[in-house]
């Protein structure tokens, strides 16, 4: 996968391209869409967010329109402007291995639109699928095998640090012919706000050392895998650190909530460093 710059907008954060209204696309290497599942999901009941200076807890629950509506929109050229402006990564999810397979079957015809297909094995905010798949290696491998057979392009697994040692997961991903891995997704967390429990996935600066270690371990064990480092990147030093431990690209997520122009700043920095 050739990205210029090697900077990806993370799935979930960027929605279905909405941030192109605020970010100049020439600074985006690829834009990952919000995860699409087999059936529409209305997401988790509110409240869904809680933020501090060092982290955000989100409990969105993969709200999305479902693969059939997505394909309908695709056929109606609803995402045409998005495809014209940036390289797009499709994010695939499901509630169980069968759903992952069915979504893959449905999107296979449309692979040409996407730079890569990212498969979400790590959402912590759904009762089924997401992180649950990764914690069951039998199901995980079953999905890896099937999707590799159905999808011909660049295939990326998005994993977290829960469920299994991330370097072992990366080895399995590579052994099944997949091309890349996104490290890491949010981590399950909980905060008590005015006596109420807010559960969800933690993102933001607090994740950086955890994500960095994940990239380091994976690159040491499986250097051939294309690694997109993701977690707590907010400045140039963070970018340097991720590239130093072997990341092939970096992904910006929560940082764009604080200031969408971080993308331009980081992209210019990467280009300056790479020249």
């Amino acid at each position: 996968m050739e990205l210029n710059p090697p900077l990806v907008i993370a799935s979930g954060v960027g929605g279905m391209g909405e941030y192109l209204k605020l970010i100049d696309p020439k600074y985006i290497g690829a834009y990952t869409l919000k995860t699409v599942t087999l059936f529409p999901k209305q997401g988790n009941p509110p409240p869904r967010l809680f933020a501090t200076e060092s982290y955000l807890i989100n409990n969105i629950g993969l709200e999305n329109i479902g693969i059939d509506a997505f394909i309908e929109n695709l056929n109606a050229n609803q995402y045409e402007e998005l495809f014209e402006k940036v390289k797009v990564i499709f994010s695939l999810g499901g509630d169980n291995p069968e759903e992952y397979k069915l979504v893959a079957q449905k999107i296979a015809t449309y692979e040409k639109y996407f730079e890569a297909i990212e498969v979400n094995f790590s959402c912590p905010n759904v009762k089924n699928g997401g992180l649950n798949i990764l914690s069951d290696l039998f199901s995980f491998k079953e999905v890896l095998i099937y999707l590799r057979k159905v999808l011909k392009g660049f295939l990326i697994a998005k994993v977290g640090v829960e469920g299994n040692f991330v370097e072992n997961v990366a080895q399995i991903v590579k052994d099944h012919g997949w091309n890349g891995i996104v490290l890491i997704n949010t981590i399950r967390g909980l905060e008590v706000v005015e006596g109420k429990l807010i559960k969800g996935g933690i993102s933001g600066p607090v994740l950086k050392p955890i994500a960095l270690r994940a990239v380091y371990e994976v690159k040491n064990k499986v250097p051939e895998l294309y690694v997109i480092g993701s977690g707590g990147i907010t400045n140039e030093k963070d970018v340097d650190d991720f590239f130093k431990v072997g990341a092939n690209a970096i992904s910006l997520g929560t940082a764009i909530y604080k200031n969408p122009q971080i993308v331009e700043k980081i992209a210019k920095y990467i280009r300056r460093c790479c020249e």
Partner: protein
């Protein structure tokens, strides 16, 4: 919608914790639209756009680190305007709000000639052109006395809005501005969901103003 910076012209202290901040810049916006302002938090915070006489303004209640930060800045980074502009039904309307929302109230009053009523827990530190009552009891009495209006628009804390909604709902349609936590403000993150009688809606793109009876029983 765009990224921009706003330079502070003047900060007015309305009460000990409520302020009006006016800006040198002008922005075209629809009534009740908002901007997301950068704070030390990992996400920006939404603030309703309004006017204070001829100037662009926001109202703000200092309740935590983010709002403390905002009132001390000379320049604010933001994006917007966001949300759907509120277009009230025809007829005579009344807006009921708090000192923290004076800028939005001023704008609405200018655009729709609606009456504005302010409920405050403490005396104001500046003159304002709207009827103001002090204390919870007088606020409730005020709400009970409001008759002859074709619509109400209420903006304040969840608790204040619930009290007002329950006292006004039999008189005319009550519109409420919802305060759900936001991360993006532009419909990407889906974080500001609220459960309505028509299913999940998102405050940033479907609101921030909803008819009360669409959301609350």
């Amino acid at each position: 919608m765009e990224n921009f910076s706003l330079t502070v012209k003047k900060t007015f202290e309305v009460t000990r914790d409520s302020f009006i901040i006016t800006f040198n810049e002008k922005i075209d916006f629809a009534p009740t639209q908002f901007i997301m302002i950068e704070t030390p938090s990992v996400v920006r915070k939404p603030f309703a756009l309004g006017k204070w006489f001829d100037d662009l303004a926001i109202g703000i209640q200092v309740i935590g680190k983010g709002t403390q930060y905002i009132v001390k800045q000379d320049v604010l980074l933001a994006h917007g305007p966001l949300g759907r502009g509120f277009v009230p039904p025809s007829g005579k309307g009344a807006m009921i709000t708090t000192p923290a929302c004076l800028a939005m109230a001023f704008d609405l009053h200018q655009r729709y000639s609606c009456d504005v009523f302010i409920g405050s827990l403490e005396r104001l530190q500046m003159e304002i052109p709207f009827k103001t009552v002090f204390g919870n009891e007088k606020f409730v009495n005020l709400l009970k006395s409001l008759n002859g209006y074709d619509w109400f628009y209420v903006v304040g804390s969840d608790q204040m809005e619930k009290v007002a909604f329950n006292l006004l709902r039999e008189k005319a349609p009550v519109y409420l501005s919802f305060n759900e936590y936001m991360a993006c403000g532009i419909g990407a993150c889906r974080g500001c969901a609220i459960q309505t009688k028509e299913g999940i809606k998102h405050v940033c793109i479907d609101g921030p103003v909803f008819r009360g009876d669409l959301v609350w029983n």
